[in-house]
Structure formats: C-alpha cells, structure tokens
C-alpha cells in the first residue's frame, strides 16, 4: 500500500535496525528460551520504548501508523522482540500516559521510555481470561494506602518489569463497576514474580505469574478513580489490539519472505519451485493478497486512532484478521518448504507458526474479537438494552 514518505523512511530505519541488531539473535532466543535484556538499551535508544509517550516523559511519540510499522518490522524478524515492545508500549506505557496524574507520569514513564526498563500490565487472572470482568484481585483501603491481594497470570515481561499496572476490585459492587487500577513496583513487599511459563512460541519473551500478597500500595499509586479500571483497560486493549495485529502482520511477512525466497531458489528438475508448481504460485498469491489486506486493516485502524474517532470495532477486526492471516501464511510457508519446514534450525517458518499462534489468543482471543465486532455491528438493528 502507498505510504507517506515519512512512514516509508521510518520503516526503512526500523527495518535496517531489526535486520542488523535483532534478526541475528532471533533463533537463539527461541531455542534458549531467553529474554534478551541486553536488547533494551538499544531499543530505548532507537526510541522504540516510548512510542506512545511524549518527549516530556522521555518518549519519542510517533503516530499510530508509525508505531504499527515499528512493531511489524520488529516482529518480521523476531516475534519475541515484537511482543515485548508491543506490550511495553501499548499496555505498560499507554495507561500511565493516558490515565495517570502528572506525578505518576514523571515517576514511571521516563524509566520505561528512555531508561530502557520494562513496564507490564496485569489484567488476566487464572479464572478471568476472556471474562476480564471476573477479576478477583482485591484492593482494600487502609489509612494512607491500599492493600492488594491476588494473582495475575500470563503477564508479558513479568519477571523483568520494574513496575506493573494491575486491576483489582475496590468495592463489593458486582461485575466491572468495582474494578480499579494501580501501579505497583516490583521491589515492594508481597510483590512476587511467579513461575515462568513454558510456551509454544514467543519463547524469547518473558511470561510469568504475578502474586500479590498484602502489597501496600500508596494512595497516590491508584491510576484514575475508583471503578474506572474497566473503562481504562477496554481503551488500553483497543490500542493493544492494533499492535497485536501489527505483530501478526510482521510475522506473516517474515514467513512469506522465507517461502518466497525458497520458491525462487529451490530447484526441482533444474527449475525453481516457483516456476514448476502452480500450486505453490497460487499459495504465494493468496499469502501476498491476505498480507496486503491485513496491512490495510492494521494501518486503517491506526489512522482512525490518530484521527481521534472511535476505533474499537476496527481494531478488533484488524487483530482478528491479521492474526488469522498470520497463522495461515506461516502454515502455508511451512507447507511450501516441505519436510525442512518442520525443523527448527533450517528456516524461521517453524518458529513463526509457533509465535503467531499467540496473536489469535493474546489481548482477547479471536472469539472475543468476534464478540466485540458482533456487538458493534448489531447495535444498528437491535433495540437498546
């Protein structure tokens, strides 16, 4: 698709960085299941850790199309780096930047943006996944602080984040009205990082439980007011979904790059596969078409966010479509590679399929996106509740 010159240049810059600094380590991170802490300073220096934050707080605020391009290009070479950056920006920095008080922004954002330290977002709980309103973590006010108790699971960058945003119930009100959010620091008593998850893919990214046991949280660390948590995280996830769409798009592009090259150089009876097999040609045509469509949707939702119009439906659509395209493209890339595609140390397609599967699950499964989209589209014909 046709991009503005500034976006093209931004892509070239990130692409060059990703190829030079990130790509050479992608396979190792996956195999060793190691989080690349040493990447953080250079990611911060490139401005990749403060993309949704203004310069006042050390950020490098770019428009959402640029942000999507950055996540896409990082994910194109390394899904683990893509998710780490997407989660840090969209889920870690964004809520503090958007909903935080001046003091909170000054205190936490610069460490995350130019300081190169990660921020995490604790929403999901063992019994509250798709149904995030079923949060059980509690926050009880005692004098000049809150006492938090509860468990959060599948938290991206949990072991490395210096602080996390956590949702908790602040009253007995049922459902979502009692949910508020807080900023918690890792060093505080009772804040414990749990077991590291052993995952199918994105094995270079860090995913763990967070356990809060009587964590004393100063009143000043509440993010927004009582009961505002649900609205906040819905808005946070709207943006987050664009970034997961961008991540899926990048992974799809990476798998397609690999398959396309293979079809051009692998000879069967002296001719490249891309000439001898119409089935392979058609697969590549479908892959390219679907990637292009996904890119329009991801950038389109990004533009809507920048324009300040409501984009919940479009971000859900972009995430749903791009993640399913990512899965199909990675799947077909392996099919084009044949035998060798199933093995880890030869081509990245195998890793990409495992990585991209997360995009159909994280920040709302594909089923949840369909719930969101259906609710939006049915509004026009169904009577209001």
């Amino acid at each position: 698709m046709l991009l503005k010159k500034e976006h093209q240049e931004f892509r070239e810059k990130i692409r060059a960085f990703a190829l030079e600094k990130v790509a050479p380590h992608a396979a190792t991170l996956d195999i060793e299941q190691r989080f690349p802490k040493e990447f953080l300073p250079m990611l911060a220096e490139m401005g990749l850790m403060g993309m949704v934050v203004s310069e006042d707080y050390g950020g490098s605020k770019v428009d959402t199309v640029s942000y999507s391009i950055a996540v896409e290009e990082l994910s194109r070479v390394c899904g683990s780096t893509g998710i780490t950056i997407a989660a840090h920006n969209s889920l870690g920095c964004f809520p503090i930047y958007k909903f935080g008080m001046e003091e909170q922004k000054k205190k936490y954002l610069p460490r995350g943006t130019k300081g190169g330290e990660l921020l995490a977002f604790g929403l999901t709980e063992p019994d509250a996944g798709s149904d995030a309103g079923a949060t059980k973590t509690t926050a009880v006010k005692q004098g000049d602080h809150w006492i938090l108790n509860g468990t959060k699971c599948f938290i991206t960058s949990a072991s490395h984040a210096f602080a996390s945003i956590a949702t908790a119930r602040t009253s007995d009100a049922p459902g979502v009205k009692a949910i508020s959010s807080f900023i918690l620091e890792k060093d505080w008593d009772g804040y414990e990082v749990g077991k590291k998850e052993n995952k199918m893919g994105l094995r270079g990214s860090d995913t763990a439980f967070l356990h809060f046991t009587d964590v004393k949280v100063p009143l000043d660390n509440q993010l927004g007011g009582d009961g505002e948590g649900f609205k906040q995280f819905m808005m946070t996830l709207d943006g987050g979904r664009i970034s997961i769409g961008a991540m899926a798009l990048g992974l799809a592009q990476g798998a397609y790059d690999c398959a396309l090259k293979y079809a051009g150089v692998t000879n069967v009876n002296g001719k490249p596969l891309g000439i001898t097999s119409q089935a392979i040609q058609f697969k590549l045509a479908d892959m390219a078409t679907e990637i292009e469509a996904a890119r329009h949707m991801v950038y389109g939702a990004s533009q809507m966010k920048d324009a300040g119009v409501k984009f919940s439906k479009e971000s859900a659509m972009a995430k749903l479509y791009a993640s399913e395209v990512g899965h199909r493209v990675a799947y077909e890339a392996i099919q084009i590679l044949g035998d060798v595609g199933f093995f880890t140390n030869h081509y990245p397609a195998e890793r990409i399929l495992r990585d991209v599967k997360l995009c159909e699950i994280g920040e709302g499964t594909s089923e949840v996106q369909r719930i969101v989209i259906a609710r939006e589209v049915l509004k026009s014909v169904l009577p209001e509740k």
Partner: protein
C-alpha cells in the same frame, strides 16, 4: 458395508488404549520436553509385540491386519504421536520392506530380531534435494563383485539414532531414472555410516530424526531388497501403507484434542457459565467431531481395501489428505477453546498443535497427495 470392528480389532485396540493410558500418556509431556523416548518404554513395547505387528507369527510377529494395526496406532498416537511414529516407521515401512519385497535369506536374517524389537528400522528415502520428488535421489549404490558400495546423504530420517538397520534407497543405474533406483538393507555397524545429531523440530519431539551419511559403505549384494531397479516401486507401495498410518496418527491426535477441548469446555467458566454453554464453542466441538469421524471412515476404507489386496494408492492418499488437514484444523480449534492455557506446555493441546503440523508434510505432503489423487482421477 460393515462398519463394525471385529473382536480381534477391538481386543487389540483395547490393549493399546490401556497401555497408552497407563504408560504413555502420563509421560508424553516429559518425552516431548526431553526430545527422546526412554529405553524402558521401547523395551516394554517390544515385549508386548509392538515391533512386529503385521509380521507373520513365524518371525515372532502378531500378524495383525492393516485395520487392526491401525486401530492400535490411533490409540498410541492419541497418547503420544512421537512414540507412535517411532513404532509406525519400524512396522509399516521397514519390516514391511523386507517382508514384502526381501529374499527369504533377508527375512530370516532380520525379521525375527526386528519383530522382537532388538533391531529397530529407519527408512532412508528423502535427501536434501529430493523430497516430494523422490525419484530424483542422488545416493548411489555401485556394484563391485558381490558387494554394493553406497555413497550419499539422507535427511530427516525418523529413528535415525535408534536404528539397527537402515532401509536405504539408492541409484544403481543413473540412466534409468526412477527405474534405476534400488532398495537395500544396511546394518548400522557397517563402516562409513555417519549418524548426525538429533534435529530440533516443531513437534513429534519424542521421536528421533537425523541426517544419515553413507561414505563408501560396502554391503553384501544379498542385502539388495528385491531386484535391481525395483526400489522406487517398492517405496511407492510402502508409502501407501505409511499414508494410512499417518492418517490414523492424525486421527489419534485430533481425537485427543477434541477430548481435551470437550473436558475443558465443561470445566472452564467464563461470564458465569461453562464455555460449553456458548454456541460458538458448541459448533466448534460439533465440527471437530464430524470431521474426525469422516477422516476415520476414509482411513478404515483404505485399510480394509488394503487387507483385501486391492490397490489403495488413491484411497490411502485421500485418507491421509483429509485426516491430516482435519487434525490441524481440530488442534487449532482445541487451542482456541483453551485460550491462553492452550499456548502453555502444561496443557496437552499445545503439544497436539505442534505434533499435528507434520502430518500434512511427511510421507508425502498434502500437495503430493493431491498429485497422486488427481493423476488417478484424470487417468480414469
């Protein structure tokens, strides 16, 4: 049409299911993580006859029909597909190669030990530049007196590190194309065989996959399986067996994924009710079950026809095509139903997702099956 399994089928199936439940399923996650099978499970299965399932009793085999054998394979695969493929390659490709096409001398020499599990077989067909296009293999076997000298490299050899014998396909007459390919039994201890390191792979991690190189490997001419030049035909016929096996492997994985998804959807509550109350989940489960049964019926058709001695080239390809696509579709939906948990290794569906992928690739990719089927359709 009789859709009922015989008493023998049911008994073998039940025995395999019992072994799978007690000894295999509880360890499958560990074997996947460790990337290998412990010797004790192989020994135990050898004791029970799993290494000579279709061989006649006179070689120590169980003499099972294709249908019965595949009933057992589905059970093994439902518990651990990596273990199943280890057993399946040995039985349906290696034992069958010698039993169907080998000389009496070769049969007497190798089959009793193979049936007893003392010698495990590996099947060496694929090469770096000859996958789907198996006729373009480059490994050569040059006759010198009463010996053949083999040179070449085979890739992605299942059981490569466990094998006592390699069934090797090599070119004996480069002028004749696919009719210049021959099949050999090559004992592992023959000088000049280099066994590579285990390959890291997406799934089937309990199984062993390696590159095997042959450098001036000298074997007796009596190790030729069948006649010179019949190797390709042998490979094609054996792959028909193998494809039925992969179909049942895929069915086993899919069935387990459905079982896990059903269980999870009843236990997991979101929005105040079990997941199985949601229509979107119910419809997924319905389609999973329908597709699995459809695939299994295609598998049975191919197996029954094979037992009747019919040519099953098209039917085995159809079974493999549909079963492997079904399996990959089903495991994906099973992961979706599990949500975030489905991405984690503590949940078996994570393993099924990775294991299923290769069923659309090995023993002929989905595209290769379509070539076989369309060729047959267009010929008629």
């Amino acid at each position: 049409m009789d859709f009922n399994l015989t008493e023998d089928d049911l008994m073998i199936q039940e025995t395999a299911a019992d072994l799978a439940a007690k000894r295999i399923y509880p360890n499958a996650e560990k074997w996947d993580e460790e990337g290998k099978l412990p010797q004790d499970i192989l020994d135990e299965m050898a004791e029970l006859g799993y290494f000579g399932m279709m061989l006649p009793e006179k070689y120590g085999g169980l003499e099972l029909s294709t249908v019965t054998y595949n009933c057992a394979m589905e059970e093994l695969s439902a518990a651990c597909a990596g273990l199943m493929i280890t057993i399946s390659v040995h039985n349906s490709l290696c034992c069958e190669a010698i039993y169907r096409f080998g000389s009496e001398e070769l049969k007497d020499k190798y089959l009793p030990d193979m049936a007893a599990g003392k010698i495990i077989g590996a099947y060496c067909l694929t090469e770096p530049n000859a996958g789907t296009d198996a006729a373009s293999i480059k490994t050569s076997a040059v006759k010198k007196g009463d010996k053949y000298v083999i040179n070449g490299t085979k890739t992605f050899v299942t059981n490569g590190g466990l094998a006592g014998v390699f069934i090797v396909f090599a070119v004996t007459d480069p002028e004749k194309g696919s009719k210049g390919i021959s099949c050999f039994v090559v004992p592992k201890d023959t000088p000049g065989i280099d066994i590579g390191a285990p390959e890291k792979k997406m799934g089937m991690k309990a199984s062993d996959t390696r590159e095997i190189s042959f450098t001036d490997v000298e074997i007796d001419a009596s190790n030729l399986v069948g006649e010179e030049g019949t190797g390709f035909k042998t490979a094609v016929i054996l792959l028909n067996n193998g494809r039925i096996g992969v179909a049942f492997q895929a069915i086993g994985i899919a069935r387990s994924a459905l079982e896990e998804a059903l269980k999870y959807s009843k236990e997991r509550k979101q929005f105040g009710q079990p997941l199985c109350n949601f229509q979107a989940i119910q419809f997924k489960l319905a389609e999973m079950a329908a597709k699995i049964d459809g695939a299994r019926l295609l598998g049975y058709r191919a197996a029954v026809m094979k037992d009747e001695g019919k040519n099953v080239a098209m039917e085995s390809s159809m079974a493999k095509l549909i079963a492997s696509q079904t399996a990959n579709w089903v495991v994906n939906e099973a992961v979706q139903i599990h949500g975030g948990y489905g991405y984690m290794k503590e949940y078996a569906v994570e393993r099924y997702f990775r294991d299923a992928r290769v069923t659309e690739i090995y023993e002929g990719t989905t595209e290769a099956q379509k070539m076989v089927i369309s060729r047959q359709l267009l010929r008629d």
